[in-house]
Amino acid sequence: MIIGETPPPSGAFGVDAIAMTMRFGDFLALDNVELKVRPGSFHALLGENGAGKSTLVKCIMGYYHATEGDIIVGGREQAIANPKDAHALGLGMVYQHFTLVPAMTVAENLVLARDDVPAVVNWPKEMKELEAFLGRMPFKVPLGAKVSDISAGERQKCEILKQLYLKRRFLILDEPTSVLTPAEADEVLGMLREMVVRGELTILMITHKFREVMAFADDVTILRRGKLAGAGKVSELTPDEMARTMIGAEELTVQPPRTGKPGQARLELQKLRALDDAGAVAVHDISLTFRAGEIVGIAGVSGNGQRQLVEVLAGQREAESGEIRIAGDPYRASREEMRRHKMSLLPEEPLKNACVGGMSVADNIAFRDFDREPFARGGWWLNPRAFRDEARTKIARYKIKTRTPDTPISALSGGNVQRAVLARELGDEVEVLIAANPCFGLDFAAVAQIHAEIMAARNRGAAVLLVSEDLDELLELSDRLVVMFHGEFVYEARTSEADLTVVGRHMAGH
């Protein structure tokens, strides 16, 4: 490539990041990393949480300014001072968190994203132009619908369409399929792949799904702890090799084998109904029985009532009607009932839903029993030493990385917050376990440990309700698989007999 060449006015171009180093204070987030994305290629960027993937692409997009290193766009070195500079060069990014405005329509969001929004928008004319644009695009979205009313899959399509509408020719996608069903993911990535093959687009995709890397990517770059760990053509690599490059020499917790048969009914839901924050029915009269020594996986695209179901079971939301029974007794999510029935919870976003961020690790670990012997005398006089002793034992047993037991829990990394919750919720006997996306955003080591603990709880005879957006996790752990769509259970099968295409179809509501 000749230095000094400008990016071509249309069609795909490549981006190289050379010798990138990024320092945040004492912390070295990127250490001399190199990334070469060929023009007209589909490039995957792999790495664990905290490996520096996001930092690297944010440096390319101008959100961060690399301490050292150069960005070469279409063969020419560019100083990208802010995202606007990157946009002007034709670079666009689809974020993991949606950047659409939920209260606005799809059309408003698209027009708003332009650099040249007219002072007064001529809506009839804009709508005509938008429809013409959509006609040329591989996937469709409802222009007049509010973003808050469309599914997560459609939102992700909107985000990608927005970038194409803005005529971006180098797209960075940050885990674009985490909210999609496998079929939707294949559809979206397949269509983007076609645009890449036609030479209209270059794609750099951050992901941790090897299946998608194998199926859609040409090249791969793997980061580990801020360093370049490997790179090459996907066709010359296997998923195992990539995984090993990602994790390095770290040892993972071994998951115990599945033992024992499911026993008697433990947790029963009868015509349970719950509303969402807007007052619409989110959980629609569902009934299901969970047995002891069984993991029931609830599959589904997020936003289909799973969150509200878990919140009702956790006591964070009142059920509108219906009944919950544990071991035959009615259950209304009081602390007393949770203790009596040995019910444990691993809610999603543990720092928000299962911890008090400003309180210490020791306090957070003691929440279940803080007002009982030996933590409290007479139910009110607390014994700080007992808190700290208990915390030390559990910190060692669950490998929680914290400076001291008195460190505020919000100072811990996501994986260690979840380990602390795990220590509290699974440290004693468990009869019912509710887990919601327990591994979301965590690294391999934490995921392996959490999976092992959940399986061990099942083997000890707990009834486990596992809600997850990750189908692979559900297929690995559950005995029985249920699909939730629009607040209802629409499909149920033994996991060993479940057909992935049928599951995917039900997740999409067909």
């Binding site: 802010n82 946009h87 950047t99 209260a103 708003l112 929004v117 002072a119 007064v120 509303l275 007052g279």
Partner: protein
């Protein structure tokens, strides 16, 4: 009716006239606050802005002899107070509610201090248009003498409604209020958008204040505002951040506030103070009926500190 006595019809007529009169400051403050809140910030200091607007309008009107210059001065004063609020709020870790309360006290205090010499003199007042010329009945004519600011406010509400949907500024304000992340990802400065929205909001609230001193009651004293500024902030919530609903809500509040004096004029004097409390009872009743602990407010800008 030939004798000019209209009996009990006096009450609804007086309520109508009162609604128009009393609602004007509510209308301007709530439209201004609507703009500010749609951008994702709440300005509780509008009570102070209202009183400062009333004082400066009266002062400038008295000194220049033109009430319209007074209105402009009130708007500019309001915009400056808005800029002060937005400026303080753009500092890290500053809570907009606390700043608003501080500015409410600051605004009223400053107005009383600077307005001391204005209590005695009489300033030229704003004109009204006589829509009741066709009638012989004095009560009808009184009710239909409509002030020009009210008419401007009535036109402004649908314009704002339209502007939120179809203008670039409307879309940007909504984006900043609904998702600051989205606005930043598009390369807009959220702080700048909010600064401008708060200044425009202050401008309108200042004009609302000028109505108090230049039309009704039409003089400057320290008891001029009975909390209209702070009530109007609540009114925006009740109107679900919709400028058209702000207009109707202002009229309803104005009507409720006019109920006491209207009943007094036909001789119902018992419970006068109770009827004067009608707007506040109305507020409570509406809030209880429309709010639920199980639901979030519909239409609330997602970035607002009170709904987040």
């Amino acid at each position: 009716m030939a004798d000019g006595s209209i009996g009990l019809w006096t009450v609804p007529l007086a309520v109508l006239g009162g609604a128009i009169r009393v609602s004007t400051p509510f209308l301007f403050v709530s439209l201004g606050e609507c703009i500010t809140e749609r951008s994702g910030r709440i300005n509780l200091g509008l009570e102070g802005t209202l009183v400062m607007g009333a004082m400066s309008a009266y002062g400038i009107s008295y000194l220049s002899g033109s009430p319209w210059l007074g209105v402009l001065a009130a708007g500019i004063t309001g915009a400056l107070l808005g800029a002060l609020h937005a400026g303080i709020c753009s500092l890290p870790r500053v809570n907009d509610v606390a700043v608003g309360i501080a500015l409410m006290l600051f605004g009223t205090g400053l107005a009383f201090y600077l307005g001391k010499p204005l209590i005695e003199p009489t300033a030229p007042r704003l004109p009204a248009i006589d829509f009741g010329w066709w009638s012989d009945i004095p009560q009808v004519r009184a009710a239909l003498r409509i002030n020009v600011l009210f008419l401007i406010g009535v036109v402004l509400a649908p314009i704002l409604y339209w502007a939120f949907r179809t203008t670039r500024w409307g879309l940007l304000i909504r984006t900043a209020g609904e998702s600051a992340d989205a606005a930043r990802a598009m390369g807009h400065s959220v702080l700048l958008i909010r600064l401008r929205a708060t200044m425009v909001g202050g401008f309108l609230a200042g004009i609302g204040g000028s109505f108090l001193s230049l039309f009704y009651p039409g003089s400057w004293n320290e008891g001029l505002s009975s909390g209209q500024g702070i009530t109007a902030v609540a009114l925006v919530i009740f109107a679900r951040w919709d400028p058209l609903l702000c207009l109707w809500a202002s009229l309803a509040f104005g009507g409720a506030a006019a109920l006491g004096p209207a009943l007094q004029s036909v001789g119902v004097t018992s419970g006068y103070h109770l009827f004067n409390a009608a707007p506040y009872i109305l507020t409570l009743a509406i809030m209880i009926i429309t709010c639920s602990p199980k639901r979030t407010l519909t239409g609330a800008p997602a970035e607002l500190s009170i709904t987040r």
